[in-house]
Each structure stands twice: as C-alpha cells, then as structure tokens.
Amino acid sequence: MSEKLTEEMLSALPDARGHFGAFGGRFVSETLMDSLMTLEKEYKMLKNDPEFQARFDKELADYVGRPTPLYFAERLTRETGGAQIWLKREDLCHTGAHKVNNTIGQALLASFLGKKRIIAETGAGQHGVATATVCARLGLECHVFMGAEDVQRQSLNVFRMKLLGAEVHAVESGTRTLKDAMNDAMRDWVSYVDETFYIIGTVAGPHPYPMLVRDFQSVIGRETRRQALEKTGKLPDALVACVGGGSNAIGMFYPFLSDESVQLYGVEAGGLGIETGKHAAPLCAGRPGVLHGNRTYLMEDENGQIAGTHSVSAGLDYPGVGPEHSWLKDIGRANYVSVTDDEAMEGFRKLTRVEGIMPALETAHAVAYAIKLAATMDKDQTVVINVSGRGDKDINTVAKLEGIEI
C-alpha cells in the first residue's frame, strides 16, 4: 500500500456521508432517509455518552461473557508445522457466536431511542438468534426475516428464535436466502418506520450501519490485541477471519488497521470453486455496484442484476460485502481470499478432531485458510483465527453431507 494508515485517517472514516473511499453511502428510498439521519445523530451522541458506554460494557461482561479467551491451539499448531495458531473464542459468547456483541449494542440503542419493535434479517440464523435473545433480555417485540431456503437449512435456529419469543417470517421471494431476507426486512422497515428499529446483523446496509456494527464488533480486535501482547509479548503476524457481510472480520481487523506489521486475511466462500461461478465471493470475483443501501463489491450479471450465490454455509451466502472491506481491498490493506465448500468441511473436521472445538461452517472457512497460511510461516510467528461461531447449528448440514440421517 502507498501510505500508512494513521489513527487520524481511520477515525475520519466513514466520512460525513458514510463513505469509505468510493464505497458505502446511503442508497435508500426517501422514506428511510430521515430515520437513518436521526439514527446517525443519536448514535454519535450516545457513542460518547458515559452512561450508554458503561451499560454496553456491563452487558458485554455479564451477559455476553466477555472477554472471550485467546486460546493457543497447540495440537493444531504441531500438526500444521508452521506458525503458532491461536484462536479468538467468539464461539464462547452467549448464543454461540460473535453476533450478540452487535445485537446487544443495537438493542440498547433502540431502548435509548424509545423504539419497542425490533426487526432483523438472518442467514444462518445466528444473528436472528442473537437478536431474539437480546429482545427477550430487554423486553422488546422481535420479528426476524429469513429466506425460506435458510429456514430449511437451519431449522434448529428457527426453533431457538421461536422459543425466545420472536416471530420468524420465511421469505419466499427471489433466491429465498439472506439477500431476500434483507429485502423484506427493509420493506417492513419502510412500512413501520416510526416505531421500528432495524438491527442489521452485518457491516453492510446504509450509513450509519456499517460504522455502528463495526464499532460494536471492534471489542473482538481490542481484546485480541491486548491478549496477544500479554500472552505472546507481541502483536500477531496475521489475522484470519471469514467474510460474508464481514462483521466478525471487521471487528477483528479494525483495531489493527494502523499496525502495518499485522497481515489481514478475509476468507470468502469459494463454494464449488470460483471458476464454476457457484460461490459467494464478491471481493475475490465480483465488481462494485449498489445493493441494500451501499456501494460495495457485488456478485452481479453484466446487466447489473444481482447473481445467485452458493455456499455450504448459510451465513456466507450473500452477494455483497461490507463497504469498509471493499475499501480495505482497494487500498491493499487487507487480503481477500476464498476457500471451497470441501476445504471448509476439511477445516471443520480438523478443528473438531484435533482441538475438540467444533466451529460454525462459516468459521471453518477461516480455519481452512489459516492452516494453509500457517504452514508457510515460521515457527516464531503467530496467526490468530477469529472463531466467530460454534458449529452445533450446522450438525444437520454436516450429517446430510456425510449421508447420515439424524
């Protein structure tokens, strides 16, 4: 990259209109503009409000269970035979994934703004569960939009959401996956904009969402930075995280952006292989466009119609990506790579058998790439994998792939 990212430059992004370089922004219909501008203004005030921050920190500690451990994967390191592999254990968060860091933040925001009706979109169901959970915790009405295809793939999480008191709306339009769930969530939001707070689960969507989701998830990277210094006496050499919309990755990367020595790797879903076109890797194989309120890398056809995606993991099955990742790609600060469904399954099995930690299929993409990467590095170097979620929700998918009936 041409110039060093200073703290000052980073704190100026996104700019006043929500842009990260050429990406981001606020591309929505007029009805939502006032709500987004109000949210931005209120969030900027609350961000510096000691009462709000103290409440957020307390929820992260006592409800989410933070800090999560930074764990040395000793056997995996030995088997891989390269750099030390460390795991940031977001799978140990309440509800089993990093998603709750953001949902508790946004639900508190909703409460401070006096909004009682919460909506959310979900792919794998982790964000839906995390939203339903904090709504139960704070006594808020909760509606979750989920593609009908994902409702099938993730029936366990659908049941969890219902137990938590949420209403789950199966979305039958389009490709019946995450992007269509997001379309319907936005349609609901436009219809009930005065009383509704939309808890977006990833760092995409219109400004200020990519910024506020990043801020709430940055606790991952801040803890990792401190823990790495404590446990290894230095910053990690590489960070690896899976990227669908990219919330766990940005949460891990953001506090390290100005640390030039730390290499950042975002791992997209290569599906059946980039060359087959059946994947969900817009940063690796897409081009910039506008969807869901922001300009970012997208998977689309030559006419600008959004392309169908494929991934074994529902949480990565999305044709777009957070705009800050698009910017980090274009300035060369982060590397974006992909692994296939098969490689991810291999990563899933490996971590399960060697460390006794069953990762989510999303996370398994990061595991698979990190193992390849660590093997090329020296023994005194360190790689941190963000273990964004646990794999219990995926056992049905894994069983099916192995031809086993549960």
Binding site: S29, N183, L291
Partner: protein, 270 residues
C-alpha cells in the same frame, strides 16, 4: 422546456390533472411492452412511468416484485428497455416517458452510456428509487446536460429542509409517496395526503404527482383533487399478471381500468 414540463404545463392550462400509469418493462413479455404503452396512451395516460426490472426491488411490494421476476425470466435488460422506448417513439412523439427503477442496472451499464442512450431513444425523465440527491453528484449533471429530467421522491417522513433541497435537485415533477410502505399496499389516507401536498406546494414550484395506493377512479379523483397528477402502478401490474395469457384481453382490461380514472380526473375540472 422538456417534454414533461410542456405536458404538465398544458394540462395545468386546461385545469386538468396528469394521469401517470406505471408498468414494468418486459412484463409479461418484452415483445408486449411497446403495445401496452400505446394502449395506456389510448386509455388516457399523459405520462408513462416505465419500470426497469431489478432482481432486488426493495421498495416494492409482491405485485411489482413478481413483475420484475417475470421480466427478468425473459432477460429484460436496461438496454432492451431503452430500445422499447425508441420503438415506442416511432409512433408517439408526444407522450413523455420516465424510466423508473433501481440504481445498480444503471451503474452496471455506465452512467454516461446510459444517459446518452436514454436521450437518443427519447426518454424524458429518470426516477431512481434508491438514489437520494445526496448520492447523485456523479449522475445528476449527466442528466441535466442532456435535458433529462431527474425525478426524486418525497415521502411522509421528509422534513421541510429536505423537501426544499430535493426540489432544488428535481425537474419535471416531484413524486410524493403517499404513505410509509411499499408499492401495492393500501394504507392511503386522502386527508393526510391533501395536507402534505398542500404543504409541499408551499415549498416548491414544481408540480407534485402522488403515487402509492391509487387503485380506482375513486382514489384517483380524491388524490387528483389535491395534487397535480396521480401515479397508478400495482393495480395495473396486477391486471397484467392476471391477463398475461391473452394480449387482447389484457389490453381491454388495462383500458377498462385506466379509462374511468381518466374520466374521474377530468370530471374534477368540469
């Protein structure tokens, strides 16, 4: 003066209100669209809003979503939609055409290439649902230079400052969305619309057309009474869906729907 401005000015001079039907290009089939446009004009349309199909129409309800899916099944692209307008113009040089859709197909084609092709084909205005004026810095000048009217939305949630700012960026007319919701819903409250449009008229000199929730002659007249024009979309698109098997029957059904609206609107001035 643009074709849209001329049309609206002439109507105003006659004390009449604009009837602006919307259909999705390529629905039910790309070959049918130009014929349907002529049918709309014959039934009393003053301006046509021609929808550009998009895979993810976030501001639309199920009726227009399905129309987009039907059009995309036949591969209807933005370039093809522009070609339809060109063909329409060989028989109709009077009726203004506004392309209505989402930003990404335009971005994929390239803004300059789009603007050139649109003007060449005889398109008069462009309404991009997910492009607020704040994000239109790159696009708007390309339209202005070519005399393409940029039409923006106003909604019940738009503040006075924004109404003024959006009007500054607009030409032709502004499109007032009658309620918070998606196309095809039936939440319209005519009294609320009347007071909002009255208020918007105080903040801008542009004509105000009202869309969302206009389903029949009765709602058309009620909204026409308080605005400069009415936009009719989902009820037409639903008619297309229900009569897609028989093109002649479809044309009759569209005429039967639109013609009473025309009469009801014209009845306001007599």
């Amino acid at each position: 003066m643009s074709r849209i401005e001329r049309t609206l000015e002439a109507l105003k001079g006659q004390g009449r209100k604009a009837l602006i039907p919307y259909i999705t290009a390529g629905d039910p089939h790309p070959d049918a669209t130009v014929g349907l446009m002529h049918t709309l004009v014959a039934a009393g349309a003053d301006i046509i809003e021609l929808g550009v199909p998009f895979s993810d129409p976030m501001a639309d309800g199920p009726v227009i979503q399905l129309a987009c899916e039907r059009a995309l099944k036949h591969g209807t692209s933005l370039r093809q939609v522009i070609a339809m307008v060109k063909e329409f113009r060989t028989k109709d040089s009077e009726t203004p055409i506004v392309l209505m859709g989402y930003l990404n197909p335009m971005e994929a084609m390239g803004y300059e290439a789009f603007a050139d092709a649109a003007v060449d084909a005889g398109v008069d205005g462009v309404l991009t649902v997910d492009l607020p004026p704040e994000e239109a810095d790159d696009v708007a000048p390309l339209f202005t230079e070519r005399n393409l009217d940029a039409i923006f939305l106003l909604s019940p949630t738009t503040t006075d400052d924004r109404i003024r700012a959006i009007s500054e960026h607009s030409s032709g007319y502004v499109y007032y969305v009658s309620f918070n919701g998606v196309t095809g819903a039936s939440k319209i409250n005519v009294d609320e619309v009347a007071s909002r449009v009255d208020h918007i008229h105080k903040l801008t000199a542009l004509p105000v057309a009202v869309g969302f929730g206009i389903r029949d002659a009765h709602t058309a007249a009620a909204v026409g009474r308080v605005s400069d024009g009415v936009i009719v979309g989902s009820v037409l698109v639903d008619t297309i869906a229900r009569n897609q098997a028989d093109n002649d029957q479809l044309k009759r059904a569209l005429t039967d729907l639109l013609h009473p609206m025309r009469e009801a609107l014209d009845g306001l001035s007599s």
